[in-house]
């Protein structure tokens, strides 16, 4: 260690995220870590290890399964959580549809993206969780740029941007009333490039769909979607084989692939460092719906 006691920006971000994990674990009664199998929540799992090993995580891991997830991501999810020896809870949108809590959209543009909000809130209520760690980052989207690291949700799970608590220094106010809960975003200050650079530095495994692979796709609205049982093709949409990878892991129905040759973590980092388009703008149909799409979904209780 040099005498200047230098900590790189990535290790500074890591130290801050670990501090958030420990504060929330200490001040809340029943936290949960939301894990999708995507890159951001992969980083969350590693940060939880950094915070609590050699002890166990003081919370379970939960996935909101839309039923439209990539099989590669699900396989990875199960394996990763069992390697860690932690407990996995799966909240199922399929189940919410079956029990009539939500109504499935129909048609070629049907998506379960908005439905998972209900499943998430139901699961939080059912298990009595009072804090949910999520992998959201402020650089993702303009509404998120204004969200706190500890973000409060009322008893309906709603976010009120005008009534956010001031968040000063690293002093987090974790007081809530019964029925309310907090969303906690330990990697709020990380960028997409930070996440990939951290994954590369820590040599973390990610689902194979993040790397270039051959896939049957079709083009819609300027994006490439995977051909899957969950999406109806519209007239004129012709499937074709392409060499692609994913920048985000969401539902197969609303997550677009990008053409890429990046087969290694290093190549992915280099590609992200050179990109011309934001991650959500490039690959998420859900954020392109309206100008305030994310703000609206967050107000309703989305991640």
């Amino acid at each position: 260690m040099p005498a200047t006691y230098h900590l790189s920006h990535l290790r500074t971000l890591e130290a801050e995220a670990v501090q958030v994990f420990r504060e929330v674990a200490a001040e809340f009664e029943r936290p949960v870590l939301l894990f999708s199998g995507g890159k951001d929540s992969i980083v969350l799992l590693r940060l939880a290890e950094k915070a609590f090993r050699p002890g166990p995580f003081p919370f379970p891991v939960m996935h909101v399964d839309t039923g439209h997830n990539f099989p590669e991501a699900l396989e990875f999810r199960d394996r990763r959580v069992s390697e860690l020896g932690e407990r996995l809870i799966v909240a199922s949108v399929e189940e919410s549809i079956r029990t009539g809590r939500v109504v499935e959209q129909t048609g070629p543009r049907a998506s379960r993206n908005t439905l998972q909000t209900v499943t998430l809130l139901d699961a939080i209520a059912e298990h009595g969780f009072d804090a949910a760690f999520g992998g959201a980052r402020r650089d993702e989207e303009r509404a998120r740029a204004k969200e706190r690291i500890l973000s409060f949700r009322d008893e309906f799970g709603q976010w009120e941007p005008q009534r956010q608590r001031p968040e000063l220094w690293s002093l987090y106010n974790g007081r809530i009333r019964k029925g309310e809960h907090a969303r906690v975003f330990p990697i709020s200050n990380w960028t997409e490039l930070d996440v990939w650079q951290y994954i590369a530095e820590e040599d973390l495994e990610v689902p194979s769909i993040y790397f270039a692979h051959e896939r049957e796709v079709f083009a819609r609205d300027g994006m490439l979607y995977a051909v899957s049982p969950f999406v109806e093709l519209m007239d004129g949409e012709q499937p074709f084989a392409a060499r692609v990878r994913y920048r985000t892991v969401g539902d197969m129905s609303c997550t677009g692939a990008i053409e890429s040759d990046a087969e290694t973590l290093q190549a992915v980092v280099a590609e992200i460092a050179a990109t011309e388009v934001t991650e959500r703008g490039q690959t998420r149909a859900d954020d392109r719906a309206t100008e305030a799409a994310m703000e609206d979904r967050k107000r309703q209780g989305y991640f």
Binding site: H9, P166, E192, E291
Partner: protein, 672 residues
Amino acid sequence: MDGPPSTSGILANGNGKLAEPDGGPAADDAQAVFRRLTERPADLLRFATAGSVDDGKSTLIGRLLYDSKQVLSDQLEHVEQTSERMGHDFLDLSLLTDGLRAEREQGITIDVAYRYFATAQRRFIIADTPGHEQYTRNMVTGASTADLAIVLIDARKGVVAQSKRHAFISSLLGIPHIVVCVNKMDLVDFDEAVFDAIVEDFDTFAARLEMPDVTFIPISALHGDNVVERSEAMPWYQGPPLLYHLEHVHIASDRNLIDVRFPVQWVIRPPASSVTDYRAYAGQVAGGVMRPGDDVVVLPGGQRSTIAGIDTLDGAVEEAFPPMSVAIRLTDDIDVGRGSTIVRPHNQPTTANSFECLLCWMSEQPLSPRRRYLVKHTTRMTMLGAADVRYRIDVETLHRDETATTLGLNDLGRVHLELSSPLVFDSYRRNRVTGSLILIDEATNETVGAGVILDTEVDEAETDHAKSERSPNVRWQGTKMTRERRWQTLGHSGATVWFTGLPGAGKSTVAAAVEERLIIAGRPAFLLDGDNLRHGLNGDLGFDEVARSENVRRTAHVAKLLADSGTIALVSLVSPYAADRAAAAALHVADSLDFIEVYVNAPLELCEERDPKGLYARARAGELAGLTGVGAPYEPPPEPDLVLVAGEETVGGEVERVIELLTARGLLPGAP
């Protein structure tokens, strides 16, 4: 002479675009880019920007991002479309930063927004805070973590009230570096005289503030002069453009690497079966450099130990420094938990339950003595007992309103806080982590206040009782019953009798006998026994020098209250240090109360032989460190009011001697 070079080598923005210096396509292969990112790790600079829409703050940030080729195509497309829809004939770069619908609709910024960008030198986090008066709380929030603040001044308007407010808050929150950007220079014909006049004005104001490093840069955010590139229009300006300054300002020495401070957040203790007897204290280093082998003391308890190891997931480390998050193992099995602070024995912070702080009020409900507030400081939570507003500060004129009795939304003021339990703190100037706190309204759970703790030495002059008379609703309650009336009506007066001596000298025995004698005689008396107090009032204290002093201080205060009430307080306490006893005596004398020091003098051999609690045996067996007489010194009183020499007479005889003294002092009837 040529000025510093323009900024170059911009690498990647928050979303990760790699900007080519020549604008050409990326030619690097993946490995080269990866190496460049990882082999020379960048550091992190957080800066806050303050200013209103009129000052061109959003435009400046948009310009920083745009000129450094860091706006991605979908973001730019959005700005173009929205500018057109709003009827602008120019590219409204402020649209890059206004996030929420209400802001876009009203054309204002309502909350702190965070932006990210990077150059080859540094990664940057911008806390973008609105400048309107009603959002002082957001500025305080954004500034709380900033290394640097940009204060924007409109060249046409000069230093206005709002610029002063921004400068003042930046100084209050201890931001080490301030950059004053004099914007809209294009509208004053890039006139050097205008710039110079503003610099002089600002300096005059800033001389009254604490601002270690202030830099002035003339810019035009709209046209990009001196933002990323040097301005052609202002050859008279020899300094660097803004981005160059942000890349090179020296921040490494802003951390406190001297005073070791480690607030414990969490105890790592795996289930017994997995790792044998592992126990580590997890937290983030708030100050100093910690190393295995270092002697430490755990506050507020005062237990001593040594660092056995510093662990991370990646293995043990030889040094831990701010802002690292680590887990500390100690060599001794002592009581450490969340809320403890690990420090070095010879460099200790203050442990106290009252202090002075500057408070920013953030709630529409003003500070009120009728509401209950929680105080969160490092990893400790306690209750606010009383808050005495000394004055409110007008953030524009720096005028102190000493008639103020409370603080309302966006008010800043100096307040004396009394807490229900002590905190382990430094002044904010010395350490931003151990010197800051927030107030939480217990009923609403809202964060209602943010405070920075002031240097107490500086404040002595102002903490006298007379000053606190100003806030009748929030201060220590005075009552109409005076001591004279009370004592006269009750027919007796109070005093403190302080028995000091080695453990086992017989202090408690004689003090208890005196108590019995007085009560039987119908005279209110009460025994304050050191051991008993350590079960309750002083239960959080250990046995090192600092904790013992605190033990004496608290006991002295309790005794003084009893004496004031008309009771004879009988204190039986080892109280080994002469200075502590002198302080206890001074406390009474200052309030015109009698303080009688009785030295129970027994030789160490005798005490050790008696050993009523087995303490000496344990100390000799090495089980008990720091027992007075064995492992810690005892300083006999130089001039006690009474000396009771062990073995010279019976306990009954000793009681007689004490009663005689009390009578002689006029505290018992029968005085001449």
